[in-house]
Symmetry: C2
Subunit: 381 residues, 2 copies
C-alpha cells in the first residue's frame, strides 16, 4: 500500500468514530501529515460540532506550510453551522490535499476541489473511492435521492422462520446476535416496526449508545396504551395511521391526545407525532412514509419487521441494505411465520437479489449482509 | 503433524476415492510404509472388490517384514466376499498397524485389534478418530442403529422460500449449486422425494457418476404415468403408497402393474417396487419407510424435498445431515412455499439445531451444511 492510501484509510477509521451521531452530516475524518509524520487529526463528532478538517487544523498547533491534508470526503465550501473548511485549508498554507471521494451533492460537487486547485494546492481525488462511498452510504443516498437510507433486519431460523407455529419467537438468535443488532440501531436515525411487532413483543427498540427515533406503522392505531414505546422519550416516537381520527375533548389539551380507533378511544401522549396517511390497496405507500421521515430530518431507517412490514418494503424496492441474522435451527411448519411476508414476488428470476454479500459468524449464528439489487424485478412474470 | 497422523490422513484421501460405490461397505484406504517411504497403497473401490488392506498388500510386491500398515478403519476378521484381512496382515510379517477408528459393529469391534496384538504386532488405535468417523458417517450410523443415514437438502432463497407465490421454483440456486447437489447424489444410495415434487418438477434425480435408487412417497399414487422416473432404470424405483390397490387383470402379468387410485387405474411398470403402508395421523411413519429401505440394502437416503416431506423427516427426528443451498434472493410472500413445512415445532427453544456448521460459497450462493441435534426437542412446549 502506498503512503497516500495508508493515510486515507486512516481517515476512514477516524470518520467511523462519529458513526450514528453525525446525521444529517456525513462521517468525516481528516489527517495532517508533514513528511511521513501525522501531526494532527480530527473527525466530525456530531452534527453542529466542528468539521473534521477544522478539528485537525485547530489541534495541529503549528505551522502547516508544506503539509498534506488527507480527508475521506471533499471539504465543504459553504457557510453552515461552521465556516467553510476550504478557505481555512488555503489560509493555512497546506500544500497538498488528498480526497477519497467528491461530495455527492450535485450543488456543491467539485466546487471545493476547483477552489483548492485555483489556489495552487495539489489535489488528488478518488483514492479508495468505493470504500469511502460505502463508509457514507447513508449520506450518499440522502444527497442523491433526497430519501432516507433503509436497512432491513431479520432474525430467523435457517429455514426462514421468525416464529414457531403457535407464535413463539423468543429467542431465535443467540445473545451475541441480539447485541450486534442493538449496536446496529446506533448506526441509524430511527428504528421502524409494524404495529403487530409492538403488540406481540412490546419492545423498547433502543440502541446501546443512543435512543433512536421509533417509528410504528399502525393503520388501526392498535398499539396498547401500556406499550413501552408510549412511555418516555416520546419526542422520538412517530406513528403512521389511517383508520383513526382525533377526538375533540373539553377542555382540549395543547395537542389533543385522544384518538377514535376501531378498538375504542385511545390516548396517545401529545409529544408523540401521529401522521394520518391514506392507504392504497390495503396498505400505506411506504415511499410516502419515508418522504415524511426525511422531512423530519430522519436520514436513515432501520426496519426490524415484522414479516408483513419487511415484505412491503421489499415489494416497493425501498430496502438499501439487509442484515439477515440466521440461527442454525429448523423451526419448520407451514403455518410458522416467514421472515419476509406480504404478497411476495412472482418468480425466483424476477425478485431482488443481494449483492456484495458478507458472511459473519456470531458464535453458532450466521449474519449475512448485503445490498439488494432490484434490476431483475418483474412483478407479473 | 507427526508421521503417523500424516499417513493416517493419507488413508482418508484414499478411502474417499470409493465414495458412493462401496455401500453397504465402509470407505477404507490403506498405506504400507517402510521407514519413511510409502511402498504401496490401496482403497476399497466397490462392494465385492478387494478390501483396502488386501489391495495394498497385493500391490506391494516385496517383502513386508518390518513395515507399518496405516488404515482408517479396523481391519476385518471375518470371511465375507473376501478372506479376513487380519490374517493376511499377520502372515505377511507386518510389524506395526496404525488404525484411526475401531469397527462400529459391536459384534466385531476390537476383535482384529486383539488378534493383531496377540500376534505381537504393535497396534496404535484412535488417531484422528473423529475425522475417521465423519468419513464413514453412513457406515457408523448403519452399524450402530441398523437404519439408513439420512441427508436432507433444500435449495432456498435467503428468506427460506423454495417457490414463489404462484409456484414458480426454477431456478432458485445457481448452476454451481445445482451441480454440487447432483454430485451429492453420488454419495448416497438413494434420492427420496415427495410425490408433489415429481408432479411439479418431473425430475430425473440422477447423480453425475451414478444412477441412485429413487424413492417416492406417494400416498395417493398420483405421479403421472409419463414421469421420467417411470421410464428406464425401473429396478431402482421404489414407491410408497397407501390409498391405492393392485387391480387384477386377465391375463395377469408376472407382477400386476395396474393399480386402482383416486385418479383412476394407473399402470406402474412391473420392475418398480411398490410398497403399501398404513398412515398414522394422515401421513406415513417415515421410520417405517426407512426400515424398509434398509432391508432393501439402501444404506443412505438423500431427501430432496419438497417442503412437506422435509418437514416430516425433521418432525420424526430422522435427518442426520443437512445441506441448505441458499441463493441470496428475497422471494418474499406469505403464500410462497417454505423450505421446511409440515406441522412444525412449537418453539424456537425446542426445535432441532444444527451443529458442526460448515459454510461454503458457490459463487454468489451459500451452502450451509451440518448435523441436526434433537436434544432440546419438545413437541408441546
Amino acid at each position: 500500500m502506498n503512503k497516500d492510501a495508508y493515510f486515507i484509510k486512516k481517515t476512514f477509521q477516524l470518520a467511523k468514530k462519529g458513526e450514528g451521531f453525525t446525521s444529517p452530516n456525513p462521517l468525516v475524518g481528516a489527517i495532517i501529515v508533514k513528511g511521513d509524520r501525522i501531526i494532527s487529526q480530527g473527525y466530525h463528532k456530531k452534527a453542529g460540532f466542528p468539521h473534521a478538517e477544522a478539528e485537525a487544523i485547530r489541534t495541529a498547533g503549528e505551522n502547516l506550510t508544506g503539509t498534506t491534508l488527507y480527508v475521506n470526503l471533499e471539504p465543504c465550501c459553504h457557510f453552515g453551522k461552521t465556516p467553510p473548511c476550504v478557505d481555512e485549508i488555503i489560509k493555512k498554507g497546506i500544500k497538498r490535499v488528498v480526497v477519497a471521494t467528491c461530495d455527492p451533492n450535485p450543488l456543491v460537487r467539485n466546487k471545493s476541489i476547483t477552489k483548492l486547485k485555483k489556489a495552487n494546492i495539489g489535489v488528488k481525488v478518488g483514492l479508495c473511492e468505493k470504500e469511502a462511498e460505502g463508509l457514507n452510504e447513508i449520506f450518499f443516498k440522502n444527497m442523491r435521492e433526497a430519501m432516507p437510507f433503509v436497512a432491513a433486519k431479520t432474525a430467523q431460523s435457517l429455514d426462514g422462520k421468525i416464529a414457531a407455529r403457535g407464535g413463539k419467537s423468543k429467542w431465535i438468535t443467540n445473545e451475541k446476535s441480539r447485541m450486534f443488532a442493538r449496536r446496529l440501531r446506533d448506526k441509524y436515525d430511527c428504528v421502524l416496526v409494524g404495529a403487530n411487532t409492538v403488540v406481540k413483543d412490546n419492545p423498547y427498540l433502543n440502541g446501546l449508545k443512543k435512543i433512536p427515533y421509533k417509528v410504528v406503522i399502525d393503520p388501526y392505531l392498535c398499539i396498547p396504551e401500556s406499550s413501552h414505546l408510549l412511555k418516555g422519550n416520546l419526542g422520538k416516537l412517530v406513528i403512521f395511521t389511517s383508520f383513526a381520527s382525533k377526538k375533540k375533548v373539553n377542555p382540549a389539551p395543547r395537542k389533543t391526545p385522544f384518538f377514535r380507533t376501531r378498538g375504542g378511544v385511545k390516548k396517545i401522549p401529545p409529544a408523540a407525532r401521529v401522521f394520518f396517511l391514506k392507504q392504497r390497496n390495503g396498505w400505506f405507500v411506504l415511499r410516502e412514509v419515508l418522504k415524511i421521515l426525511y422531512q423530519l430530518g430522519i436520514m436513515s431507517v432501520f426496519v426490524e419487521g415484522g414479516s408483513e412490514t419487511l415484505g412491503r418494503f421489499f415489494m416497493e424496492k425501498l430496502v438499501d441494505k439487509v442484515y439477515f441474522f440466521i440461527s442454525p435451527k429448523i423451526i419448520a411448519g407451514t403455518k410458522a411465520l416467514s421472515s419476509v411476508g406480504a404478497e411476495g414476488f412472482s418468480s425466483p428470476n424476477s425478485c431482488p437479489y443481494i449483492e456484495g454479500i458478507k458472511i459473519h459468524r456470531l458464535d453458532e449464528d450466521i449474519l449475512i449482509s448485503g445490498y439488494p439489487c432490484y434490476k431483475k424485478i418483474c412483478l407479473n412474470c
